[in-house]
Point group: C2
């Protein structure tokens, strides 16, 4: 199956600014992209990066500088093969096994909810479906599918639910990641700490 | 399988204090407990509540006023049957299907990681195993099992990873819950809102 991996190159991951400067955020975002592309291939699928500008990466790149929703819908509008996947580039915990759970169900639409109401990954078999990534998109995608009479399966995956946006998300990468993003954080001296309330955080040690 | 559901009755869910007063937090915590007990039964298992004080609930209650770790380890020390489950009482998204994924694997230890490094649910077959819920407990539980030569399976479940501690977690209950906790929030006028950065939040509407 072809799997589209949208990747925004401009000012990626702004909510990580308390921990990472602009150049670091771009490098970390690319490390996550590499992990996602590897997992897509590991699950036996074929990735295409849908980037906001030309990007050097080990996969075909389609450039579309529009926001996420119209860019993905443009791909969906042109798609003629059986099924198409869309997997976000910041799922640093994704594994081939998690992606197989996304691509195996036989349904018009398979959804992987993201924490906070997003839709982190999906597979579309019903080609009339269009995405809308604004706000609580998982709810909107359910409703759209229901209205169109499409069958929907939701995948219950912690790994697919974890998009890395905020400092707290780096905890998950250090605890559960095993790829380029985890290595990037370690190489840049991030480590786990536990605060006085027993909450786990990340901290960056001195050089 | 017997499944222990630890439940703290004193000052539960203090991090929800910005949204709920003490009495409400207790009522909401009990609604989540009811959902967890229902899911345990729905998956064909038998729950016992391990509570810090006598609690009226539709299940056997063992009272132990010590902290979570010694209380659970006391149960583990006495346990003589084949396997034992421990499932936290604040997993408001849990379903029988998610619990079946926890109880099905044939391993000495099955772990369901919680967001933020916790261990939200586990099944122990190796009875020498003891829990330690402090800090990044999922990492400690992995290490302990590895040292003891136990086989470990981790369950990749968004529903099991979501313990409800903070206001942001209520978003998940409203979006993905379908039981008493979701109903409690709706009855108390909680609803989803989307802020100017497209982040989904909960808000409480006026009476």
């Amino acid at each position: 199956m072809r799997v589209i991996v949208p990747f925004a190159t401009r000012e990626p991951k702004t909510r990580l600014a308390p921990l990472l400067d602009t150049e670091e955020r771009l490098a970390f975002a690319r490390a996550m992209l590499v992990d996602v592309l590897g997992a897509v291939r590991g699950a036996g699928h074929v990735p295409t990066v849908l980037a906001t500008e030309p990007t050097e990466v080990d996969a075909p790149v389609v450039v579309d500088d529009r926001p996420l929703t119209p860019a993905v819908n443009d791909v969906l509008a042109d798609w003629t093969a059986d099924r198409l996947g869309v997997v976000m580039a910041d799922l640093a915990l994704v594994t081939p096994a998690a992606l197989e759970r996304l691509t195996t169900p036989d349904a018009d639409l398979v959804l992987a909810p993201g924490r906070g109401g997003g839709t982190n990954a999906l597979v579309v078999a019903d080609l009339d479906f269009r995405v809308d990534y604004h706000g609580a998109s998982i709810r909107d995608h359910r409703r759209t599918a229901r209205r169109g009479g499409a069958s929907v399966v939701e995948v219950d995956s912690f790994r697919l639910s974890t998009d890395v946006d905020e400092p707290a998300d780096l905890v998950e990468v250090l605890l559960h990641g095993d790829g380029a993003a985890r290595d990037w954080l370690r190489d840049h001296r991030f480590e786990l700490t536990v605060d006085h309330e027993e909450r786990v955080q990340v901290a960056r040690s001195g050089r």
